[in-house]
Amino acid sequence: MKLRSRRLLDRSLTGVSVMAIVLMSLSLLVLLGPIFSRGAAAFLFRATSEFRRFNLEQFNRGDSRRIAAESRAVAEARQPLYGMLAAFTAELEDMDPARRRELRQQFKEVRDLLRELLGPLPGEMDAVMLRQQYGQTRWDRARVTLQRILFSEQWDYSDPSRMGRKVLVPRRQAFAGTQLEPLFPHLQQNLKSMLQPRFTFYWRFLSDRSLDSHFFGGIWPEILGTFYLTLGAMLLAIPFGVIAAIYLSEFAAAGRLVSLLRVCISTLAGVPSIVFGLFGLAFFINTLHLSHSKSVLAGSATLALLILPTIIRAAEEALKSVPHAYKEAALSLGASPLRMVLTVLLPAALPGILTGVIISMGRAAGETAPIIFTAAVSVGRPLKLWETLNQPTPALPWNIYNLATEHQAVDQIRHVQFGMVLTLVLLVLLLNLAAIVIRARISRKMRG
């Protein structure tokens, strides 16, 4: 082949492989970008006066006098609007029946949406559901509702060759000439004073319980549940994992049995996580009866099995990288092998073991499939420590799934879902960062 074409091939290989790296990094960015930007909106957003009223009434939080003053200002700002509603209700009575029928339905829609936006309208009975007692607590959601008030969605099927197209029709048109017509521009112009949006850093999103199935409040039960599950899994897996690693690296003579052990460890690492879930159900719950049904304990035990191979491998790696000279020095001073392990080997290998432990902690925190049948429920309160023995719990990964797919108003609580994902991802990233830092420390110590 000509030298030129050989070089061309060489360059294209370089190009292709660099492109692969770029694509890989890009996909990470594309993945994390929305999670971070939209997840942050769960914590940092423009909160409306409804949010502050909610916090005062439900959590007893905030300066009650200032909030009362704000409520008065808001009520004042809303007064003209409510006036228009009342005027139109009266006007509706006097209309000819055909037009009345046509408009009544539309008017009901407007009223429903206004209730969603601003909370109960004057003169209405107290609603049962919490979500009906308050308007939009977030300005971004309020804007969405405003759009739905201003425009109604209709489907245009005029072109039979294509699928229907969504068109937005201003509601104002339907009410042209009535007392309600000025409501729409008025609402658009004065919504800010009716809701008083203000930037808020809602860090208590992490520590608040959820109210009315995540319409309000935070994600504390999920965080606590994830914490319990992870902690339990680590407590169960670390002793087994580290002891197994000590055995494999220090005491096991190479032989059939040990290689069988190793095959088992890698097999265990390869078992799909959903199979762990089924096993946990069949063994821990239905056979051992660790608990009557799902519980944190059963979930932790299942997760512990899942991360056992990771811990064994990391710990064995760490133990093996302890210089031989250390061990021999200890043995030559007359320490028994077991003593050597406890006094020399384990302390020296500790940072390495810790790295593995931290990484598997991230894994345990993020796994969903093993806890579906063993520990997770969609709605629950924060558990006390002893309740973990026989009670199921909400957990971040499970509730992300649940809220994103099975919640009755998936679209309205996107911010909560993103906030949960961000929390989980940050948790895992921080754990990994810690592992990276420890690893860097170790390699620096080994070098100098």
């Binding site: 660099v18 692969a20 052990l261 890698s266 097999t267 390869g270 096993f279 069949a282 064994i312």
Partner: protein
């Protein structure tokens, strides 16, 4: 005791005690270490125990050959062929995404990028590996699926340009190079350029036509095999990249230098010496990556559409599918957990299939990696 201090020989009793203690402590360590063996056995036993009643009741044929999956019907039907095909399809898609990308990235990491950049890329891989699968699933469902549904055609045509243009240009150059090899030297360059330009023009025309077709593809639902394949591919990447890179590294500097010293270019050294030497490790990497894709639950459960139907035609990636893992996760909630019924046992039967697949794939990769270590070890 004092007199004994210089005596190296222990008394009988003391020696027996010492040996007994050593034996027991070692035995204890072994027992704990055997936990993973016990766990593997228990998993196999317990999954099989609940799977066998299903096979006893309904036999093998229905599950593996039937396409009607109505476990809650009356009478219930348990034809899981569509589910197996669904698993196969998304795995195939994930392979198509992850294998070329992963191997190219592994090559870049082991041989092409400068050291500094390599260190910068490593965390990217670690993060990709560490992200919880539910986060991937959430992304697939909430961000990728709507994107696909609303702009699917444009996305597909963009992807076609991105993939086929560089590849096609490369092939065009290679073909023109080879075709003009035997032409007289003075006209060869002109002929080569002419040919390359023609081929490139044809390529661009072809791509334009293809992208016009793709643009008009209507994606009826964003939750489909295509979506899941891409996400699973990305999830499998870290495994493939890191295992493949390890085995490329393990081929060693000596081999590389030997090849370079003979005047080989980097591509030649890689393709003729390094990759053949590291080949089995790369295969193992692919197996492990594929296992990650087959065993993944959350992404497919959330974003595959969960329709137990055989895609028409079978390679139609834009149709919703249902996989083994998602079936287990989704149907267990409805199945009668405690009493045990066919609906409960069939899920264990599916899990048993999954377990066996992963078991054998794992053994294969283990065996391959070990053989390679031995072979490369012999080299040194």
């Amino acid at each position: 005791m004092k007199t004994n201090e210089r005596n190296l020989v222990m008394s009988d009793a003391a020696s027996r005690l010492r040996r007994l203690a050593a034996f027991f402590s070692k035995g204890f360590l072994f027992l704990v270490a055997a936990a993973s063996l016990v766990a593997v056995l228990l998993i196999i036993v317990y999954i099989a125990r609940d799977a066998i009643p299903f096979f006893k009741l309904r036999g093998l044929k229905e599950l593996f050959a039937g396409t009607a999956w109505f476990p809650s019907g009356n009478p219930p039907e348990f034809g899981a062929l569509a589910i197996f095909i669904g698993s196969g399809l998304v795995t195939l898609g994930a392979i198509l995404v992850a294998v070329p990308l992963g191997i190219a990235a592994a090559i870049a990491l082991s041989d092409i990028l400068p050291y500094r950049l390599r260190q910068a890329v490593k965390p990217v891989i670690e993060i990709l590996a560490a992200l919880p699968s539910v986060a991937y699933g959430f992304f697939a469902l909430v961000i990728f699926a709507p994107l696909l549904q609303n702009h699917g055609g444009s996305l597909l045509s963009l992807a076609a340009w991105l993939i086929f243009l560089p590849l096609g240009l490369l092939i065009a150059f290679a073909v023109s190079e080879i075709a003009t090899r035997s032409i007289r030297a003075d006209v060869a360059p002109a002929a080569r350029w002419l040919l390359a330009a023609t081929l490139a023009a044809v390529l661009v025309r072809g791509l334009a036509a293809l992208s016009a077709i793709l643009k008009n593809v209507a994606v009826s639902s964003g939750t489909n095999a295509f979506n899941v394949s891409i996400i699973l591919g990305i999830m499998a990447l870290p495994t493939i990249v890191s295992v493949a890179e390890d085995s490329l590294q393990a081929a060693g500097r000596e081999l590389r230098e030997g090849s370079y010293a003979l005047g080989a270019t980097r591509a030649e050294s890689l393709f003729r010496v390094i990759i053949p030497a590291a080949g089995s490790g790369i295969i193992a990497a692919v197996i492990l990556g594929v296992m990650r894709a087959i065993g993944e639950t959350m992404v497919v459960w959330m974003a595959s559409g969960n329709a137990a139907q055989v895609p028409q035609p079978w390679f139609n990636f834009l149709s919703p599918v249902r996989t083994l893992t998602a079936t287990i996760a989704g149907d267990m909630g409805e199945a009668d957990q405690v009493l045990g019924s066919e609906r409960y046992h069939v899920l264990f039967a599916l899990a048993l299939c999954l377990l066996l697949i992963s078991f054998f794939a794992n053994l294969a990769s283990e065996w391959i990696l070990r053989r390679q270590a031995r072979r490369l070890g012999g080299l040194k």
